[in-house]
């Protein structure tokens, strides 16, 4: 709420003579009608928050999607207007007001999806919102914004970095799963693995990612491996992915009802059969939750590995900071957020897909 109202008070967009210099603020009303539409949706969101239980979900969904779309529209309108007649190197960048409004719109949207009981309403709203976003993008007004111009300059490199980021994070999560799940299984069978293993892995988790990359340099050089670049990055990411995967595997297995295990053994299941047919499916929701947490975490940490030359979207962020070029920074940061959110959503979807409906409700996260 605060965020949404904040957009009216803070500068909405900034007009700058070129990529680096700071700009002149413009209010949201510079966007004309679109600005007013945005304000209207903010009011709707406020109404949604205090509406009776049943109407709240749909109202919030409408307000979230509406204000998000109106925001994009308003940004486009403002950009086109300010850019008219300005020199080619001038930039119109997104101001704090618009950022807050965007954040607010997302929050309202997510609150709406939670407050809506009916999956059909949620899906319909999602489809409408996606169509809306597609329409705004097709319209092209947004291409006048500075970040879009930055993208136009960087486009070839950009997708390479996205891929690199995904490969880094994917390898980290992949190795983390390959090592973490067996470790979790061992931890559920063996006290030493449980106490020592989980202890060590939790300590690793507390080490700042940047420090971890620094600490890996010495041992890796000693082993004759590259201390800079992809190798240490993947090792570090794997280490971070380990804890959520291992711990959740262990907790999931430890939480299986002993009566169920006794019944399985009593019916003549061997240890492996019991693990594969009974324990694993019952621990699955927690294991997937662990993989989800690991994926989100590792996508974030992969950004830091850029500074030891492992590549990925972090490069854009660090370069942006180095050159004080906000647009470049954002071009790295925003896709990073999108990747993390997509990983989150897809793992939740996977969970719904593969977890037996018999235990879906009882799943803990």
């Amino acid at each position: 709420m605060v965020a949404l109202t904040g957009c009216a008070l803070l500068p909405f967009v900034e007009f700058r003579a070129n990529r680096i210099v700071s700009g002149e603020p413009e209010s949201v009303l510079a966007a004309g009608i679109a600005g007013w539409v945005l304000v209207a949706f903010v009011v709707l969101a406020l109404a949604g928050a205090v509406a009776p239980e049943r109407a709240r979900g749909p109202l919030l969904l409408a307000a979230g999607a509406g204000s998000g779309l109106a925001l994009l529209w308003a940004l486009g309108v403002a950009a086109v207007r300010l850019q008219q007649g300005a020199p080619a190197i001038a930039r119109v960048s997104i101001g704090p007001g618009a950022w807050l409004a965007g954040l607010g719109a997302l929050v309202v949207w997510f609150a709406g999806t939670r407050a809506t009981g009916s999956a059909r309403v949620r899906r319909t709203a999602g489809a409408v919102a996606l169509l809306g976003v597609a329409a705004v993008l097709m319209w092209g007004g947004l291409a006048e914004l500075s970040i879009a111009r930055e993208y136009a300059v960087q486009s070839r490199r950009f997708w390479g970095l996205v891929r690199q980021h995904l490969v880094l994070a994917g390898s980290g999560v992949g190795f983390g799963v390959l090592i973490g799940i067996p470790l979790g299984v061992l931890a559920s069978r063996n006290r030493v693995v449980r106490e020592v293993g989980l202890g060590v892995v939790s300590v690793i988790q507390t080490i700042p990612s940047m420090a971890m990359l620094g600490l890996l340099i010495a041992p890796l050089s000693a082993l004759g491996l590259a201390a800079i670049g992809t190798t240490p990055a993947v090792i570090a990411l794997t280490l971070y992915a380990l804890l959520p995967v291992m711990r959740n595997t262990f907790v999931g297995l430890a939480g299986v009802d002993p009566g169920v295990i006794d019944a399985g053994r009593g019916m003549g299941m061997g240890r492996l059969q019991l693990l594969v047919r009974v324990e694993a499916p019952l621990a699955l929701p927690l294991v997937i939750e662990g993989v989800r947490a690991a994926a989100v975490l590792v996508i974030g940490i992969a950004a830091v590995t850029a500074f030891i030359g492992a590549g990925g979207l972090g490069i854009l962020v660090f370069q942006g900071w180095g050159q004080q070029a906000d647009d470049l920074t954002l071009l790295g940061a925003i896709p990073m957020v999108v990747l993390a959110v997509l990983a989150d959503i897809s793992m939740r979807g996977l969970r719904r897909l593969v977890v037996s409906p018999g235990i879906e409700e009882g799943a803990v996260s």
Partner: protein, 250 residues
Amino acid sequence: MMLAPRMRPVIAAVAGVVVFAWIVGQQDLWVRALSALFPGSVRPVYPAATVAELTLQHLRLVGISSGLTLLVGIPLGIWVTRPSGADFREIVSASVDFGQTFPPVAVLALMMPILGFGLWPAVVALFLYGMFPVVSNTVAGLEAVPGTLIDAARGMGMGRGRILLAVELPLAARVIMAGVRTSVVINIGTATVAAAVGAGGLGDPIIGGINVQNMAYVLQGATAAALLAIVADGLLAGAERLLTPRGLEA
């Protein structure tokens, strides 16, 4: 000396803090150790500031942001579980869940265009990012308190405020404290990255070292940052243990 078992991790954590403070204070020790490890290096120790100074900078950044986080996050979590804030419970939880998927670097990066470079933008970013685990655990901890207990307390004639202070918060303390611990540890990590936006701290020698290809600086910063995080985690784990009501101990 006999020690209650619950005090043991606390004593260990405090001892850890003392040892850490001593190590950080001994600049000589660092010089000698790094010289020994990097015999070829002309300048094995980060010249711009001592380890102690860097650690204090780091702690200042984390201390201010985490302090703000607690001041705002815990009351916010409490408020949305009260009838007066119940309407905002969904929105707050949704924002918190959504926020937790954000990469910390991205939060730092998104702050820059709004607030610029330096200490304060980093403080704001860390403050915001640290809120997520604190609010989410405060809400979870309070909501996990069995309704029957609250009913019983009401039945004994306690008012809302008394129930919160005497029943709900003590029972939720461990979960809240776990959130605080997560938040602070993440902040110590993110603060290291924040050196890249001019916030200072232990990230400085790491980033500086990479830039000038001096691995001794990197090791210096990385070791100190890792120790700081581990010691802080241990201390907060001890606090978590202390705040757990005796009856709930495993």
